[in-house]
Amino acid sequence: MELTTQIGESVTDGLAYLGALTKLGGRAAYCTFIAPFQGKPLRIQRAVSQAMQTGVGALPILSLITFFIGLILALQSAYELRKFGALNYVASAVAISMTRELGPLITAIVVIGRSGSAFAAEIGTMKVTEEIDALETMAIDPVHFLVTPKFIAMIVMLPCLTIWANSMGILGGALFGVAQADFTLVRYVQSSLDALFLRDITTGLIKSVMFGITITAVGCHEGLSTGAGAEQVGRSTTRAVVVSIFLVILVDLVFTALFFFMSAR
């Protein structure tokens, strides 16, 4: 009896959380698409500076990480392909697993660490210092003012970062290809491109857009639901990271399954 009560409670809690995220996302969508026609212009400038922080700022670390991931993928797939004397398939193995799966996912995880946590900390601190309340008493909607520019920035920047991550991954694989598998750089890149269908890239990009929405929604929601006191900011930042990683993996699973069954038909 205890157990079923507990399971029931955590299921309803989880659903309520998802509901809150959807509500936040919905309000941000309203502010993006409908409010501008009601005389509440979008804050393009804030969105752009946000995009600089979340997007351009992430490039160095993301490049390094995905380059290594590409190299690791090449090493791991070569370990198995070598047995069949099929080392020249390394290029396609790296290209496909990068664009379909690891590019979007690694990008999302780097962005969670850099920006998802920052959203929660920034909004959480504003909540603790009554700045969110101040916005409301000035009749400025915090979702419109703070959250919407973040959504726009993330939805635009995450696919861009993912494309960059994909290419860095392929370059990482190329390092192994050139050094160990008798590829030239041009031939490696060529066979990577040959192995890819447009569908591989677009499914990855669709996923990355969904990841961007998820990360922003969780980060901002955690920030806005911060309680009183400085230690609560730390708590919501941690929660934002943990919940974002979990939800990104969940969204990944849902969309991968969706694409799988769609392509089977």
């Binding site: 700045e131 101040a134 409301e136 008493t137 000035m138």
Partner: protein, 277 residues
């Protein structure tokens, strides 16, 4: 403790509270508050920590929803209006928060100009002039390019007042204006409130527990205790009040810790009876 309202005071009242109740979850904080705030007066809401005075202020500016009761503000019951209508009312009120609540990522000037940029279609040059005027009023001319983190506590509070004044509000709310300030700076903030009152005949509502500052700035006072109005009246009436709770607050008499030995025993056994509660 309801006031009797003649027809004349009805017209004059800027804010009227009627049987206002506010709860956080299961716990009721305010148990039926009712009083009027007249146009142009400075009303000080006094009360100890945890008395519910801050909750009352947050409810008045629409940050908390009352569970029942009415708040009449500018002819509208803000306990039961849409968020759109509430936003219209909020453009006519200003609020100065305890810690200032200035936006840390913006300069003082951008902070003060924010409501103007959001809600008006004024030219940048006009906003610039209003900004200088407001900063001058609070004695912060020339500080528009400073970041809030570069200001002292008193200056932050002044900047917050300038921001609250930006839209020329009819009602100004202060949450603990002298909290965390040394006596001299706090006196300066009191002085500022008196100046505003004199210059604009604004309706000002101040929540505080600083008695000296309260008696200096108030026209009338309300004492809140445990979510109820204990007393309301002019500063003289409060000073000469014989109500035990008012006397205790004004004469700063400490709460008797545990009144009866029996109560203490009962408290201990209660705890024993429900372990882990």
């Amino acid at each position: 403790m309801e006031q009797t309202n003649s027809a004349a005071t009805q017209v004059e009242a800027m804010i009227s509270l009627r049987n206002l109740r506010v709860s956080y979850g299961e716990r009721e904080i305010l148990h039926g508050i009712g009083f009027d705030v007249m146009r142009g007066e400075t009303l000080v809401i006094l009360g100890g920590s945890g008395s519910g005075k801050s909750t009352l202020l947050r409810t008045l500016v629409g940050l908390e929803k009352p569970s029942s009761g009415e708040i009449w503000l500018k002819g509208k019951n803000i306990a039961a209006i849409s968020s759109h209508e509430m936003d219209e009312i909020r453009k006519k009120i200003g609020m100065s928060f305890q810690g200032g609540a200035l936006f840390g990522s913006m300069t003082v000037g951008e902070n003060v100009a924010l409501p103007l940029r959001e809600h008006t279609k004024l030219e940048d040059s006009t906003i610039e002039i209003i900004l200088r005027l407001k900063l001058d009023q609070v004695g912060l001319s020339g500080f528009e390019n400073y970041m809030p983190s570069q200001l002292s506590g008193g200056m932050k509070k002044r900047a917050a007042v300038a921001r609250a004044l930006a839209m020329d509000p009819e009602i100004l709310f202060f949450d603990e204006p002298s909290a965390g300030l040394d006596p001299i700076i706090a006196a300066g903030v009191d002085e500022l409130i008196l100046d505003l009152k004199k210059a604009f005949h604004m309706t000002i509502i101040v929540v505080t527990h600083e008695l000296a500052s309260a008696f200096l700035i108030a026209d009338r006072m309300v004492l809140i205790d445990k979510g109820n109005v204990v007393a309301i009246g002019s500063t003289e009436e409060m000073r000469s009040s014989t109500h035990p709770r008012v006397r205790q607050f004004l004469d700063r008499i400490a709460e008797p810790a545990v009144s009866e030995e029996l109560d203490y025993l009962q408290m201990l056994t209660e705890e024993h009876r429900h372990p882990g509660r």
